[in-house]
């Protein structure tokens, strides 16, 4: 009988969970110290420390245990990470800048999870990520300024608008492949920015102001003061962004593990074989493309409210490339890799003010090096586990 039941319990490593929790605690402390670091030397030292720590942990086999902890105790580990994020937010509750950076990282993560559904799972290249982010922002700007729609409803409306605008690209995206598909979204990204610049009713090159988020009459642009307690107004946005990120993350994870994700993987890996097995290519490509744009647009709507002011220069082709690089740096299809990459790409340039001038140069060079020497990303996506306890050999 033992052979028919996958023996999960016997293979579990009892040390995995404590080590996993310790790793998350360590990362939380590291992130907090990193955000506090003022001087360039401190930031550099911390980066060197992180590299040594990761390499050392790998040598000692600790990384393998952390991975096992994520595999076997998923809920506990995810809860620990959310607690870690909240702890960091608590430490920086009075610091506008740190909270803004954390919030931005989470919104970029949400947008990149949308790109990941498109590219990482289904293999649809989208070079217009920042354009759909822009659709969300402009939707938020127009709706907060001219209508009385509750701002919380505006967030999904931003996503919906991005989906609708994106649907004009469905036909060309479905019919083209590879490099030919790339040109469709690249052309759209350039078109979108040019359109915003010459269109006067959307503010032209000057852009538009976006109203604040309000929830049950609470304006998000006011600081939190309850008795002696004081927190920056970005704390509001941080908490909302955290909720949205968790939702997006859970959704992506559920998709990945379901038959939907299996179909999407099949479409990406081999279109011909997938269609031979009766998978409707068009259906899954449309689903992935629209769902991805919805997630990007929703993140965009909140992004617009946080920025308070948006202009066409926020949504250039170069910004789309940054979104795509996050997905590639993290590892296509690997949600944790993308989370790590979003944090690195959003926060590192802000922390290295000395090299501010050179950051695009260094950043581009970094991506080239990763593509050259670690082509599957920082945390490559693990093999799909079909049965509990099953290990790919």
């Amino acid at each position: 009988m033992e052979n028919t039941q996958p023996a999960t319990a016997g293979r579990q490593d009892p040390t995995a969970l404590p080590i996993g929790i310790l790793a998350i605690a360590g990362m939380t402390v590291f992130a907090a110290v990193f955000l506090m670091a003022e001087s360039e030397a401190a930031v550099g030292g911390l980066l060197a420390f992180a590299a040594v720590a990761v390499l050392g942990a790998g040598k000692l086999g600790l990384l393998e245990r952390v991975r096992a902890a994520f595999r076997d105790h998923e809920l506990t580990m995810h809860t620990a990470i959310v607690i870690g994020a909240l702890a960091i937010a608590w430490v920086f509750r009075e610091d506008h800048f740190a909270l803004l950076m954390l919030t931005m990282a989470m919104l970029y993560l949400t947008a990149c999870l949308g790109l990941n559904v498109q590219l990482g799972y289904t293999g649809i290249l989208n070079f217009a990520g920042s354009s759909f982010l822009g659709v969300g922002c402009y939707t938020a700007a127009v709706l907060t300024q001219h209508t009385a729609i509750p701002p919380l409803v505006i967030l999904p409306l931003g996503g919906l608008m991005a989906t609708i605008v994106g649907s004009v690209l469905i036909l060309p995206v479905l019919r083209t492949r590879g490099h030919y598909a790339a040109v469709v979204t690249i052309a759209f990204a350039v078109l979108f920015k040019t359109f915003l610049e010459v269109n006067d009713s959307l503010g032209g090159p000057q852009g538009l102001a976006v109203g604040e988020m309000t929830l049950f009459g609470w304006g998000f642009n006011s600081n939190i003061e309850i008795g002696d307690f004081y927190a920056s107004f970005y704390m509001n946005y941080f908490l909302l962004a955290l909720v949205i990120t968790i939702l997006a993350f859970a959704l992506t994870r559920r998709i990945e593990r379901s038959w939907v994700g299996l179909n999407m993987d099949a479409v990406r890996i081999d279109e011909l074989a997938a269609s031979c097995f009766g998978i409707n290519l068009a259906r899954w490509k449309i689903t992935a493309f629209m769902l991805g744009n919805f997630m990007i647009g929703t993140a965009g709507a909140l992004l617009g409210m946080i920025l308070g002011f948006i202009a066409p220069t926020n949504f250039t082709f170069a910004d789309s490339l940054i979104l795509l690089s996050i997905v590639l740096l993290g590892g296509m299809g690997s949600v944790w890799g993308i989370a790590l990459a979003s944090a690195i790409i959003v926060m590192l340039p802000e922390k290295l003010q000395l090299i501010q001038e050179y950051r695009f140069l260094l950043f581009a060079a970094l991506v080239i090096l990763v593509l050259r020497f670690r082509p599957n990303g920082l945390l490559p996506r693990a093999d799909r586990i079909y049965f509990p306890g099953w290990r790919p050999r």
Partner: protein
């Protein structure tokens, strides 16, 4: 519309089309030999323009003031250096990545474009400001009816045609061109036949990049201004032109280049109420063409191997 304005639009459209075609020819050559898209091509063009400009400054400093000598040396310096740059990019970035997914190469070369752009902005003296490119060609005009045809525009157009004819001749009439076409058709078989694969790839990248350098210098001579960001849009347009024409086909690239310029010109002429939308119009048409002919106007002749 009077003749003068129409003539101006036609000449301007032809100039743009020539530059786009020169860039698109590079894209299509690279795709032919290696099946890769080198997206840094537009920024390589920008480097070509800046090399030309630097050469001009150097010649001025060295006391050479004759425009004819200046322009010859400037073009030679620009094409040779940028050709070497293209070959170096192929050798150190693209050849090591040939087994990686196509997206990785696309992204790596896009990032290389950023590196080139930022390097010029940061390290060229006053690199972030636009530079005044010298007016080296005669500025006389030939009056045709009410329209003044500028001689320098005419010379630039003829030069562009000559470059394209030269590339075409090299590809179709020489032994080197035979090797390039062999590699494009089947790299494995070409190697078995004793063709030096790497050398052919490097030479192809040098030729394509030199064509982009010519386009860059042309751009500088025509508009008399260059800046570090000029390559980005030219690269995107050149890529779109190569794709719309059909990758791997030199006629397709030329067709695509002139088509895009024609669309922009038509957009500017036919939308008088909104000529600012000419780029929006041109890119929208490109997207529609891709929906209509998914593998370009002159499709690649390939059948999918299973």
């Amino acid at each position: 519309m009077d003749l003068a304005l129409l003539g101006q639009y036609v000449i301007n459209g032809l100039m743009l089309g020539m530059m786009y075609a020169l860039v698109a020819v590079g894209f299509t050559l690279f795709f032919g030999v290696l099946d890769v898209i080198k997206f840094s091509h537009g920024d390589v063009l920008m480097v070509g323009a800046f090399t030309g400009y630097t050469t001009f400054l150097g010649l001025e400093a060295a006391g050479v003031h004759m425009p004819v000598i200046q322009i010859v040396l400037l073009v030679i310096a620009s094409t040779v250096l940028v050709g070497l740059l293209g070959a170096a990019i192929a050798k150190y970035l693209i050849l090591p990545l040939t087994n990686a997914p196509a997206l990785n190469i696309l992204l790596a070369t896009m990032m290389l474009g950023t590196v080139l752009r930022e390097a010029v902005r940061l390290f060229f003296p006053e690199g972030s400001n636009p530079k005044r490119f010298p007016r080296l060609l005669p500025d006389t005009v030939i009056p045709i009816g009410g329209f003044d045809l500028r001689v320098d525009s005419l010379m630039l157009l003829i030069a562009g045609v000559l470059v394209i004819v030269a590339i075409h001749t090299v590809i179709n009439r020489t032994k080197l061109g035979l090797a390039i076409r062999a590699v494009a058709q089947d790299a494995e078989t070409a190697r078995i036949m004793g063709i030096n694969f790497e050398l052919v790839v490097l030479v192809t990248f040098a030729i394509g990049s030199a064509a982009a350098a010519v386009a860059g210098v042309m751009n500088g001579l025509y508009y008399n201004e260059i800046n570090f960001g000029m390559g980005l849009l030219l690269g995107v347009i050149g890529f779109a032109a190569a794709i719309v024409g059909g990758l791997g086909n030199i006629y397709g690239a030329i067709l695509g280049g002139f088509l895009f310029a024609a669309l922009q010109t038509i957009g500017a002429v036919a939308l008088p109420f909104a000529s600012a939308y000419k780029d929006v119009f041109a890119f929208a048409v490109i997207i529609s063409i891709m929906a209509w002919r998914p593998t370009g106007l002159i499709p690649e002749k390939v059948s999918e191997r299973v």
